[in-house]
């Protein structure tokens, strides 16, 4: 059933140390090895009790000023429970539990929201949920070369508050093997193709579409082919190498560039010269006094550098590792999972070996000088577009619409709806040291985020209010959040039945050798089939054919920890090759084995568990629940999430195993006593179900209706399953309040 690997959270510091070693400290993410608290201090300061943080207040003021003079119907702020549901889904990707609701309501009203935001920002699921955001933006594909490591890298970056500019610099400049330099996945993702990388870099990090200028001067925009080639030239020496012997993939820098000018179709066989790299985007003038936000950033960075320098003087690599040893020992005594220790020791040894190997191979895997230059230009605080792009995408994710839509089409012909608000947020993001959590905190603390939806106003007015961010639009949960919310409220993250309570007989396919011998083992029902020719991961939930809702958790820490493990790497390479070389392994064995297939009845104890959709290899297989609910393929540029409804969504929700199992009342669930205990209280059970699934109490009419549904079946347990099935399936569940 669900294969859940033990997480090794205690290994955090050690992994961070290993990563510092791996990149030779080029970009000095040494701060990541320091406790998170020091990172936090740089973030937005919470306001006094009952007041949102200063940035949020200022943000609302700028927005109000920009809306000045427009006739708008403003929605009030959402009520407390609706806010809890909205912000919990947005920040950690699932609905709140009953315990979280109770704790929230127990807080004094004036600090409820603010304290909840802080709690959610510190929740381990925050990194899971926002890895999904970055994986979409960066088009991370677990099945691509280096994709698995790239996803783990981004997850670690969010988890440990790596400044956003630093994250981008690292992945733009990286060279090497994914196992040692996980961020090289960005370059590998586009096969190190300079033209593809130029288009992707502009569109992903700046929200500017210049890819059309690869073949012609942009018809509606200002970009020329020469500018495009100049940008591509930064990638011109980058090579993707695949060793035929070891099947390892890595990138390296060549002596010669492959980007030549003029283009082939213009040169027509004539001479072409290496194109000099040129950054086509404007930086704000460096003359005179710097803008305030840049000065604030400089002051912040100076303070950080001083702290890092001090740490450096006292710590060399071996000390970092020894430090990690101590952390490991400490972790073991305060209840780290048994068995995790062994893995960590491996990591340590591997990190040491990697450090040695790096000296030998430093030349081969050195970061790209050209791309380092590009990375510093791109992430230069004077390039405000870099920050604008991120806050616009974030605003889109949290409020349902960006200041610029589509988010990757900033252009003179497509100006932002609220340029001052956008710039204010972008500048604050820069000044905060590109702290992702800080800017998220500012946004969700604002009145703009906390608006309710508008009802009972004419359509045009409602749309005007939503476009002005004075009313919330109707937003559907992300596919991953929908999945996890059902798992959470359905108590399926762990088993909710005792052993033997769900024994049942299923039809299963077995292969019987033609010679008429004993049946072979049952077929792996789905793993191979789901894969097909596309890189995607799928495993089996159970033997009854519900292949489209499977969940296999990836241990991101282990992916990074395995950094130096050659063997593991080769296995992974073999695995991804296997997917591409569709069925190679089947050729030798199964094709030669002669058998007929027969259905047989098999008895199983069907007691399912589901893992978090946020921690799976992604994107999922094309027909998987997550994909059907809009998880993008992350192949093409502009391949955004599709939140629209389709028939296959309905089939999965109405008939799928996830909703079915989530609805059933398990004997180990809290609601069981209320429904089936010695003193059942069905009214309390209905109220509990509403809280647990819809994060609110039922109205009196809904309570009466719920009771009638529960009592309609011969057993209240079945009736409660019906009510919960309806609650999971109804519009109110998937659309945010």
């Amino acid at each position: 059933m669900v294969d859940r690997t033990v997480r090794a959270r205690a290994g955090k510091r050690l992994i961070a140390a290993a990563m510092v070693v791996a990149v030779g400290g080029a970009w000095g993410w040494a701060a990541a090895a320091a406790p998170r608290a020091t990172q936090r201090e740089a973030g937005a300061q919470p306001g006094p009790a009952g007041q949102p943080p200063a940035i949020a207040q200022a943000l609302d003021a700028v927005l109000a000023a920009e809306n000045q003079g427009r006739k708008l119907v403003e929605a009030p702020l959402v009520d407390d429970l609706a806010f809890l549901r909205r912000v919990t889904v947005d920040l950690i990707g699932r609905i709140p539990t009953v315990e979280e609701i109770d704790a929230y309501l127990a807080l004094p009203a004036e600090v409820r929201r603010e304290q909840t935001i802080d709690r959610l920002l510190a929740d381990p699921r925050f990194a899971d949920r926002w890895s999904v955001f970055f994986a979409d933006m960066l088009r991370i594909r677990s099945g691509a070369a280096g994709g698995e490591q790239f996803l783990a890298f981004v997850h670690a970056a969010v988890e440990q508050d790596m400044p956003y500019d630093e994250m981008c610099r690292r992945l733009l400049a990286a060279n090497g093997r994914p196992s040692a330099v996980p961020e090289v996945g960005w370059v590998l993702g586009d096969n190190a193709n300079p033209m593809a990388l130029a288009g992707a870099t502009a569109q992903v990090f700046l929200g500017v579409r210049i890819a059309c200028a690869e073949c012609h001067d942009h018809p509606f925009d200002k970009w020329t082919r020469e500018q495009f080639y100049g940008l591509a030239a930064y990638f011109g020496k980058t090579q993707r190498v695949e060793s035929a012997l070891t099947q390892r993939v890595y990138t390296t820098e060549a002596e010669q560039t492959t980007v030549l000018w003029p283009p082939e179709d213009v040169a027509r066989g004539g001479p072409r010269a290496p194109m000099p790299p040129a950054f086509p985007f404007e930086l704000v003038s460096a003359e005179g006094r710097q803008p305030g936000y840049i000065e604030r950033l400089a002051a912040l960075r100076a303070a950080q550098a001083a702290a890092t320098q001090k740490a450096r003087e006292e710590t060399v690599v071996e000390d970092l590792l020894a430090d990690a040893d101590r952390a490991l020992e400490a972790g073991q005594t305060d209840g780290a999972p048994q068995g995790a220790g062994l893995d960590l020791l491996d990591v340590q040894a591997e990190a040491r070996r990697d450090a040695q190997r790096l000296n030998v191979q430093a030349d081969l895997y050195r970061p790209s000088m050209l791309r380092q230059e590009l990375a510093s230009l791109l992430t230069d605080p004077r390039n405000l577009q870099f920050a604008r792009n991120l806050v616009n995408r974030l605003w889109h994710e949290l409020l349902g619409r960006g200041f610029v839509e589509p988010v990757d089409d900033f252009s003179d012909n497509n100006p932002p709806s609220h340029p001052k608000t956008l710039d204010y947020l972008a500048e604050e993001f820069v000044a905060s040291g590109y702290q992702f959590r800080a800017i998220v905190r500012a946004i969700v603390s604002s009145r703009a985020y906390q608006r309710a939806q508008l009802y009972d106003v004419p359509e045009a007015q409602r749309q005007g209010s939503e476009a002005a961010f004075v009313a919330a639009p109707l937003r559907r949960m992300l596919a991953e959040a929908l999945y996890d919310s059902i798992v959470q409220a359905g108590h399926l993250f762990s088993e909710k039945w005792g052993p033997g309570e769900n024994v049942k007989t299923v039809r299963q396919l077995v292969q019987i050798p033609v010679e008429g011998e004993q049946p072979l083992a049952p077929l792996d029902s789905g793993g191979e089939r789901m894969r097909g020719s596309m890189p995607a991961q799928a495993m089996v939930v159970d033997a009854s054919g519900y292949d489209l809702e499977t969940a296999v958790e990836v241990d991101f820490d282990a992916v990074l920890a395995a950094a130096a493990e050659e063997l593991k790497l080769e296995q992974m390479q073999a695995a991804s090759r296997e997917e591409l070389e569709a069925e190679m392994s089947m050729a030798g064995e199964s094709a030669m084995r002669r058998y007929v297939e027969r259905f047989v009845e098999v008895e199983i104890d069907d007691n399912p568990r589901f893992a978090s959709a946020m921690r799976m290899a992604s994107p999922a297989a094309p027909s998987h629940f997550l994909r059907i609910f809009g998880q993008p393929a992350r192949e093409a540029l502009g391949d955004h999430r599709d939140h629209s409804a389709n028939m296959r969504q309905a089939l999965l929700m109405l008939n799928g195993k996830l909703t079915h199992e989530a609805s059933r009342v398990g004997t180990l669930e809290p609601i069981y006593e209320l429904v089936c205990g010695r003193q059942p209280d069905l009214a309390a059970a209905v109220r509990y179900a509403y809280r647990e699934i819809l994060t609110r109490d039922p109205t009196d009419e809904e309570l009466a209706e719920g009771l009638a549904i529960v009592q309609r079946q011969d057993a209240p347990r079945k009736g409660m399953a019906d009510l919960r099935w309806v609650l999971f399936n109804c519009h109110e569940f998937r659309f945010l309040p």
């Binding site: 993702g189 193709n193 288009g199 992707a200 579409r209 890819a211 009802y455 109707l474 039809r507 396919l509 789905g526 191979e528 089939r529 789901m530 894969r531 097909g532 020719s533 596309m534 995607a536 009854s544 054919g545 292949d547 591409l580 070389e581 569709a582 069925e583 190679m584 089947m586 050729a587 094709a591 030669m592 002669r594 058998y595 094309p622 192949e635 093409a636 540029l637 502009g638 391949d639 955004h640 599709d642 409804a645 389709n646 028939m647 296959r648 309905a650 089939l651 999965l652 109405l654 008939n655 799928g656 079915h660 079946q713 019906d722 309806v726 399936n729 109804c730 519009h731 109110e732 659309f735």
Partner: protein, 419 residues
């Protein structure tokens, strides 16, 4: 109005949709005819067998008796005088008068991933653009008939629809012959109880939608109604192979491939446009001959039965059957008694959909190493599928980024296949 689909088992709703589809088909074909481009586009459906791994051409459709590249199999005569295939297809050889071969496909890629992409989309892979597979192209241009999804992929996922969008993605059937759990209430939920649930759900959703009138809610409601209509459709019995008598199942073969072929026939009878059946295991770097013999034992009865049944019911004329693989295999047998990747020339099998039975297009040289005459490029195959259905393969569609893309990457249909 029913000319395009007599003999189909149609529900009333299906009949209405079918009428609409025929109308659409006719109008496009009339347009083509006006442009002088129409020969005889008779195909309404496609059954694509995708053989992943690179199926050897020499041991299947293009035998080279007496040459050093022959391998272990002997050629056999077929129902078409002068046309031989290898001994692993004894039953199919007797249907050859319905079938055609192209023996001169000139591939460009010897890497599985790139070649698969090329053969399935007609385009070379490009890092940040996903081209649609041929099945998605077909259903983009031709809606399905009846209640079933227009495009169904069996045993493995079909290629992506790319910029053609969710509507053109295949419905995935993992295990032909087994109940698709998503098309019925979960086990243990009776029809009565399931319908009660749907009734309550509709009440809840109505209440919510009355307060919050948004187009998304209407779309969500429609998606539920479509799903319920499919769950209740009589056309679903196409999936239930137990309806067929045991002898018939036996003819196709009691294995996944046989069930897949039988299911494909039943789906086409219900109006499904494009069925893709996926099979792997053709990457025979070692011990090629026992492996291919085993493939033959599975594929031969299924293909023969499918062609025979489609011909008998008259549906073959309207159904283009095509078997493709990403490349062929090295003519020289290697030291492990296997064959390696070979893209320079390989073959494909076709039948129906207006293809003239017994046709062989092109040939490879005497050792099966290079095209000898009439080289056929990969996009030509895609153009041929479009041609059979009366689809303009040069039609341009816009990607979401506003980039115009041709449905097929150029190419010319192989018109001599058609009668």
């Amino acid at each position: 109005m029913m000319t395009g689909c007599s003999g189909y088992r149609l529900s009333r709703r299906a009949a209405l949709n079918a009428a609409a589809g025929t109308f659409l088909g006719l109008s496009v074909r009339q347009l083509l005819a006006r442009a002088g481009a129409d020969r005889r586009a008779t195909a309404e459906h496609v059954i694509l067998f995708w053989n992943g791994g690179g199926m050897t051409h020499l041991d299947t459709w293009d035998p080279k008796p007496g040459r050093p590249t022959q391998g272990e199999f002997e050629p056999i005569d077929t129902s078409v005088p002068g046309v031989q295939i290898t001994e692993i297809f004894p039953r199919l050889s007797q249907q050859m008068h319905h079938c055609a071969l192209i023996r001169s496909i000139a591939g460009t890629n010897g890497d599985h991933g790139r070649a698969t992409y090329h053969l399935q989309t007609s385009y070379e892979p490009f890092p940040n653009l996903q081209h649609p597979g041929i099945g998605s192209v077909v259903v983009h241009e031709r809606e399905g008939w009846g209640d079933l999804p227009a495009y169904i992929s069996i045993s493995a996922e079909a290629p992506r629809a790319g910029y053609l969008g969710q509507r053109c993605e295949a419905y995935f059937v993992g295990r032909p012959g087994e109940r698709d759990p998503y098309l019925a209430f979960p086990a243990g939920i009776t029809q009565v109880r399931g319908n009660e649930r749907l009734e309550v759900l509709a009440r809840f959703n109505d209440r919510y939608a009355r307060r919050s009138q948004r187009p998304q809610l209407q779309a969500a409601q429609t998606s539920i109604e479509q799903a319920v209509r499919l769950m209740r459709s009589p056309a679903l019995r196409a999936f239930d192979l137990e309806e067929e008598n045991a002898a018939l199942v036996e003819r196709y073969g009691e294995n996944e491939f046989g069930r897949g072929a039988l299911l494909a026939r039943r789906l086409v009878e219900e109006g499904v446009r494009f069925v893709q059946i996926n099979r792997g295991g053709f990457d025979v770097h070692a011990n090629a001959f026992p492996a291919m013999r085993a493939h033959g034992e599975v594929m031969d009865p299924a293909l023969a039965a499918l062609i025979e049944d489609l011909a008998a019911s008259g549906l073959l004329e309207k159904t283009l059957v095509i078997m493709l693989s990403e490349f062929g295999r090295t003519p020289m047998v290697n030291k492990d008694a296997g064959r390696d990747h070979w893209a320079a020339v390989f073959s494909c099998f076709m039948a129906g959909g207006g293809v003239r039975g017994g046709t062989v297009v092109g040939s490879s040289d005497r050792n099966g190493e290079q095209p000898h005459d009439r080289p056929v490029q990969v996009p030509d195959l895609h153009a041929t599928v479009c041609y059979a259905l009366g689809i303009d393969h040069n039609k341009e569609v816009m990607t979401p980024l506003g980039r115009p893309m041709k449905l097929v990457n150029g190419g010319e249909p192989v018109v001599e296949l058609f009668g």
